[in-house]
Symmetry: C2
């Protein structure tokens, strides 16, 4: 087997940085596909054509660049942020398109982790195209962190969000919970929801709190593009609950098993679940080690009693406490005269 | 009655700033007396002598300055941060000493709120000394904020400190609690303890946790000067508990009533109580509206069960939540690779 080339020219790197920039173009709709950019350069390092992927159902980045280059693609080096695909989906395999266009050399950053689509590098080499990989790999992976995670693990990335009073309560004794966190924290939550493709709660939350579970802007208006709303649990639900309104799509998964729920969601091309369920649902995900990120809003309020923000985790002694790794702590200044809230962002550093 | 003079010269203000500086001299031991500084100036505004109070049992600031000035005190203006005292304690009344020394005019910042000692201004005026008050009053009050509070209210200022996990627990299910907060937060707690003259816990904390309740430095060595250790409650305690060791003085107040406890502590010249008791004791102080400041350390740890950091406050619905006013939020970076903790400093904005 041929050893992959691992040296790159300054022109390669310049082109890759441009390809990363193209991939991250604003306005590209999030979807099940990764962000990809492609730049064709000639032997002098000058750009012949550029392209990027605009979301499911549109041409891949390589196809986009090749279409713009036309006959001038022949003899160029294609610099791509992700290994060219090798399979026929809604579009044909990019590996074959590059070969057909007479591209002489292909440089890509991240190998395609998707078993269905990978193998493009091998196909290109076998056709006599020079192939080099790994240039700016970290930057390329970061561009599609959640997508890479989901493909690597065969399930969506799970962000668990909860809000709590200073004394660990998510609702007062009578069940009222509007609001524990301040407006700044609630707006921040909508910002995070908008970065996900799925919001997940349990049937109990729907029955008790009746959330609409949409993403709203600072004027409290729903955004045009809404994540999928998912409620899991075996209980039947009143179809009049707000989660079933027509502002977004909703799925009821009739399972209590986090593994089963994530498997089903992955099959539906979901890559990033925002878990906003109550303490019991969150504890089930934690115990199954299916939480990848924890976002906690702490509000300077005391309730003294009421619903615990976190359910029983089976921990009996302090040595076994669940101590996640903190990646960020941010003080969110209060709006409209409200007090500040604090946001902790964490990753589960160890298995509980 | 003569109207107090309310205009001051630039020389008065310069002298008062210097007097404030003297009052805040480092190394002055904290005690039941306020910090006071005094500067004698001549008619040109030049300093004739300076003095400040060095703690209970030592001369007052005025006496200190007069002693240094000797005969040159005659005809000067005495600029003092606090109204000269009018009573004979361990030292004679400063009002009479100033008159005897032939001081022509007295400018002070803060009227003495202590009914036992006040009236010095009147005595001076009646003896024909010009008196002006209120110059840099806020600065002078801030210098002795806790002392002023205690004298005004007839009880010590109470700082309630508690540490909590992100989910509102102060101990795990088996009672273990070392440690919820990180080393940085524990060092910060010792810093705050050292600013108080009294540390207060309940009998239950002594029985369960057996704290030594001393102030220790960053090398975990006890400081030379220790606040009074107070345990309150009706239960008999094992004299072998660490709180009864010889590293500091300890008092057992046999009451469960916060009012009674603070009355007794005020009678013992205590001005600042650091309340570190468990949730039940803290709830009793909160319900009696006897908490003046709340310091909370939040550690990024989940326990899921165990002792609630805050006891029942009789709150049943979110509208009645206790929402203190936040005066500061600080992220305390972790030491030795520990995660950051967050410190909230608050004042009870409304009665619960």
């Amino acid at each position: 087997m041929e050893h992959p080339q691992t040296t790159f020219t300054p022109a390669d790197e310049r082109a890759m940085r441009r390809a990363l920039e193209l991939a991250a173009s604003p306005g590209v709709p999030l979807g099940p596909n990764p962000r990809v950019g492609c730049v064709l350069i000639d032997d002098s390092g000058d750009i012949v054509a550029e392209g990027f992927h605009r979301g499911a159902g549109t041409p891949h980045a390589e196809a986009d660049a090749l279409a713009r280059a036309g006959a001038t693609a022949r003899g160029t080096t294609a610099v791509v942020t992700l290994e060219p695909c090798n399979h026929t989906g809604r579009t044909g395999p990019c590996s074959l398109a590059l070969i057909a266009a007479g591209v002489r050399r292909v440089v890509f950053a991240q190998p395609d982790p998707n078993p269905v689509a990978s193998g493009g590098g091998t196909t290109l080499r076998e056709a006599g195209v020079e192939v080099a990989q790994g240039l700016l790999l970290d930057e390329a992976r970061a561009l599609n962190g959640v997508w890479s995670f989901a493909v690597d693990h065969g399930r969506p990335f799970v962000t668990w969000k909860f809000a709590t009073s200073l004394d660990g309560r998510s609702a007062a004794a009578d069940g009222t919970s509007r609001w524990v966190s301040g407006r700044a924290a609630r707006l921040d939550t909508h910002r995070l929801r908008a970065l996900c493709d799925t919001m997940l709660v349990g049937t109990n939350t729907v029955a008790v709190d009746d959330p609409e579970l949409t993403v709203r802007d600072t004027l409290d208006q729903p955004l045009e593009r809404q994540p999928l709303r998912v409620v899991m649990g075996e209980r039947d639900l009143d179809p009049g609950r707000r989660i079933f309104n027509d502002r977004a799509e909703t799925v009821h998964l009739r399972t209590r098993d986090p593994h089963a729920a994530l498997k089903e969601l992955f099959a539906r091309d979901r890559q990033h679940v925002f878990l906003e369920g109550g303490p019991t649902l969150a504890a089930a995900f934690l115990e199954a080690a299916l939480v990848d990120e924890i976002v906690t809003y702490v509000a300077p309020m005391l309730l003294g009693s009421g619903t615990s923000a976190v359910g029983d985790l089976g921990i009996t002694t302090i040595a076994d406490a669940f101590r996640p790794t903190v990646t960020d702590v941010t003080v969110l200044d209060g709006l409209d005269g409200e007090p500040p809230n604090v946001r902790f962002t964490m990753t589960p550093g160890k298995r509980i």
